[in-house]
Symmetry: C2
Subunit: 495 residues, 2 copies
Amino acid sequence: MSYQAYKNHLKQLADVNYASALLQWDQEVYMPEKGGSYRASQISTLSGIAHQLATDPAFEKIVADLATDNSLSEQEKSNVLRTKRDIEKRKKFTREFVEEMSHAVSEGFVAWQEAKQKNDYSIFQPKLEKLLELKHREVEIAGYEGHPYNALLDDYEPGTTVDDVKKVFDDFKPKLKALMDKIFAATPPDDALFYRHYDKDKQWAFGIDLLKQMGYDFSAGRQDVSAHPFTISFGAGDVRVTTRVNENDLAEMIWSCIHEGGHALYEQGLPAADYGLPSGEAVSLAIHESQSRLWENNVGRSLPFWQHNYAKLQSVFPESLAAVGLHDFYKAFNRVQPSLVRTSADELTYHFHIIIRFELELELIEGKLTAANLPAAWNAKYKEYLGIDVPTDTQGVLQDVHWSHGSFGYFSTYSLGSLYAAQLFAQAQKEIPGLEDSIAAGNTAPLLLWLREKVHTKGRNTTSRLVCEEVTGQPLNADFFMAYAEKKYSGIYEF
Amino acid sequence: MSYQAYKNHLKQLADVNYASALLQWDQEVYMPEKGGSYRASQISTLSGIAHQLATDPAFEKIVADLATDNSLSEQEKSNVLRTKRDIEKRKKFTREFVEEMSHAVSEGFVAWQEAKQKNDYSIFQPKLEKLLELKHREVEIAGYEGHPYNALLDDYEPGTTVDDVKKVFDDFKPKLKALMDKIFAATPPDDALFYRHYDKDKQWAFGIDLLKQMGYDFSAGRQDVSAHPFTISFGAGDVRVTTRVNENDLAEMIWSCIHEGGHALYEQGLPAADYGLPSGEAVSLAIHESQSRLWENNVGRSLPFWQHNYAKLQSVFPESLAAVGLHDFYKAFNRVQPSLVRTSADELTYHFHIIIRFELELELIEGKLTAANLPAAWNAKYKEYLGIDVPTDTQGVLQDVHWSHGSFGYFSTYSLGSLYAAQLFAQAQKEIPGLEDSIAAGNTAPLLLWLREKVHTKGRNTTSRLVCEEVTGQPLNADFFMAYAEKKYSGIYEF
C-alpha cells in the first residue's frame, strides 16, 4: 500500500516535471516572441512546485519507512533508496533558491539568444554572472568531497568525480593528439560537396526517413525545427526531437538528426510502466550521450551505413551528388579539421572542444575565472588546443546554450559518452553476428534490440560505471575509442 | 504589502493554469498518438495543484483581511472581492472532486474523438454518463437559486440566470423564425462556388493575411491547425488560434479564422500588467463570444469588408473566382439554409443549433434526459426546429467537443454573444464616424481601438449585463440583431 503511495507521489512529480518540459520545448520551438515575458515565470513556478513535491515531509516519511521495509522486491527497494538520496540532496535547497535558479535560467536563456544573435557578449555577461553566483551558492549548499565541481558533476554523472574525468582525459589527450598530428600531416579529403545548395524540404524528408530507419517511433514522438537541436521527453510515449536545416550545409541536418535520434531511442526504450520512478529514468548523462554518439559516429559515420543510404541520398540530390562516389562521400564527412563550432566538429577534434569547456568550467567554479574574463580565456584555449583564432563571440564563447541554462558540470559527459559509445559498440560487434553486414543492408534492428536489452532497460538505479563493467567486462577507458579511430582514420588518410 | 502577496499568489495560480492550457493546446495540435496515455494524468495533476492554490487557507486569510482593508484602490478592492467569491465557490469542491472531473474530461475527450471518427456513439456514452453524474454532483455541491442549471451557467456568465436566457430567447425565437420564413420563401443565392477546389497552402496564407489585417499581433500569438478551431491564451503576450482548412470548402477556413481572430484580439487586448488578476481576465463567455461574432458576422460577412478583400481573394484563386462578381460572392456566403453542423451554419439558423443544445442541456441537468436517450432527443429537435433528418451521430450529437470537455452551461453564451455583438456594433456605428467606409478601405483599426476601449480593457470585475448597459445605454435585447438581420437579408433575398 505505501509503495503504491510512493509511486503515486512520484507520478505526480513526473507530471509536473513533464509539464515544465513542455513549456521549455514550446519556448524553443513555437512560442511567439512576446510569450517570453511570462514563460520564465511559468517554468519557475512549476520548478518550485516540483521541488515542494520532491521534498514533501509526508512523502519523505513514506520513503523512510519503505527504506527499511523488507517485503519490497529488489527493484522496489532500489527505487526507494535512490529516491531517498534524491530527497536528501534536494532538501538542502529551499524552494526560494530553486525558483531563483529557474528564473535566472529563463532570463539567461533569453539574454544568450539575443547576445548570440547580435554578437554582443555584454548582453549575456550580467546574466551569466548571476548564474555563476547561484552556482557557487549551489556548490556550497550541496556540499562535496574533493573538488567543488564534484557537487555539479554529481547531478549528471553520479559516482563520477573530477579526478575520474581527469584520469581518463589525461590518458586520452596525448593519444588523440598523436593521431591528429598524423592526420594533419596527410592530405585532407575534399568536403566541398557538403556546402552546395540542398533544398530544405528535401533535407527534412530525408532526415525523417533516417529516423524511421533507426527505429524511432513517430507515433510516440515528432521532429520540429529549433535553433539548437535537442531531445526532450514527456514520458516514454512522447519523446520529441528537434533539428535544424541549413541549405548550404547538408552535414548539419544529417548528423544532428541521427544524434538526437540516438537520444530519443533511449528515452522511447525506457520502461514506460515505471513512469516517474528511478527505474524508468536514464542512468546518467554520459550513458545518454553514449547512445546518441554510438548512432551518430559508430553507425552514422561508418561506411556500411552509407552503403545502404548513399544511393537514396544521391537520388534526392542528383544535381549535387550524382557525380560523387560513395568512398569520396565517406571520406568527406570524415574530414578532420580544427574548427570553431563544437556541434559541427568532426569526431576527433570534437573532444578538444569538450576539454576546453571542462577546463574553463573548473576554473569558473574554482573562482579563478570570472564571466568578465571568460571570452578572453575561451579564445586563448582555442588558440592553444586547436590552433585557431576566434573571430567573434557568436562563434566562440556564445555558441552553446548550456551555460545559459545554468548547466555547469555537463560538458565532460559528451566526451565520456563518446568513449562509452566506442566501448559499447566494440562489445556489440563481438556479440551480434554480422552486425556490419546488417547495417549495410539497412537493418539496424539487431543493434537496437541489443541496446534495448543491454542499456535502455537499465534505469537510474545503477551508475554508468556499473553498466559499462556489466556490459563490456571492464571500466571505461579510451582504448576502444583509440582503436576505432586509428583503424578508421588510417584507412581514410592512408597512413 | 499584503496586496502584493495576493497578486503574487494569483500570478502563481495563473502560471499553473497557463501551463495546463499549454498541455491542452499541444494535445490538440502537435501531440503524437502515444503521448495521450500520460497527458490526461499531467493535466489532471495540474488541475489539482491549481485547485489547492486557489483554496489555500493562508491565501484565503490574506483575501479576507484585504476585503476589509480601506486603503485599497477601487480596482484593488474589486479584484479582492471577486477573488473572495471565487474562493467561496471553489472551496465547496474537494481536490479529489476536481481531479476526478479533470480525469473524466480527458477521458471523455479521447472517447469523443474516437466515437466521432467511427460514428459510434456507444464509445462516448459511458464517458458522458460519468461526466453527467459528476455534473449533477457539481450542481448540488455548488448550490443554486431557482433552476439547478444556474449553478453551471454561473461559471460562464456570472449574474445571468436560466430565466434571463429564456426571456431573451422567447422574445427572439418567433421574430427570427418569421424572418427565416420570409427567406425560405425567396430564391436562395447559389453558393456552389465555395465547394470548388481551393489549395490548402494558399488558403492558409490568405487566412494569415486576414488575421494581420484585423490587427492580430503575430509576435504575441500564432496559428496552427486543429480538428476543431479554438483560441487559447497563456497570458496576453501569447494568445494562439487554430483553424482547419478544407480543400473543398473555402468558407470553413475564412470565417473560422476571423471568428477565432476576434476572440484572440480580446485576449491580446486584456491588460497584460494584470496577469492572473480578475481585472486581467475576460468579463464572461458571452462577452468573449460577442467579440468573435462581431468580427465574424458584423464585419466579416459584410459587404464593405469584402469590397476591400475580394479582389485579393480572386487573385489568389483566379481559376475558381475570376468569373464570380463581388455581389454574387457576398450573397453566396450569406446564404441561409437549415444544416446539420453548427460551426458551418449561417448566422441565422445558427441560433436554432444553440437553442437545441440549450434545451437539451436543461433536460440533462434536470434529469429528464439521460446520455442513453440523448441521440434520439437530438434528432427529434433537429426535425422540429430545422426540419432536417440527422443521418449519423457524427453529424449530430457527436459534432461538438464541448460536452466531452464537461462544458455544460456554455452553449447559450454563443447566441447571447451574437446578440451582444449586434448591439455593440450598432453602437460602434453610431460612435465611429465613417466606420463602414473605413472597413471598405481595409482599415479596421478604428473599430479595434473602440473595442479596446469599450470592451477589452474591462476585466472580470464587472458583468456582461453592466458592460452592455454602460456601452450601449440599455440591457441586452434581440432588437439590434433583428434590425441588422432584417436590413441585410431583405437586401440579399429581395423582399
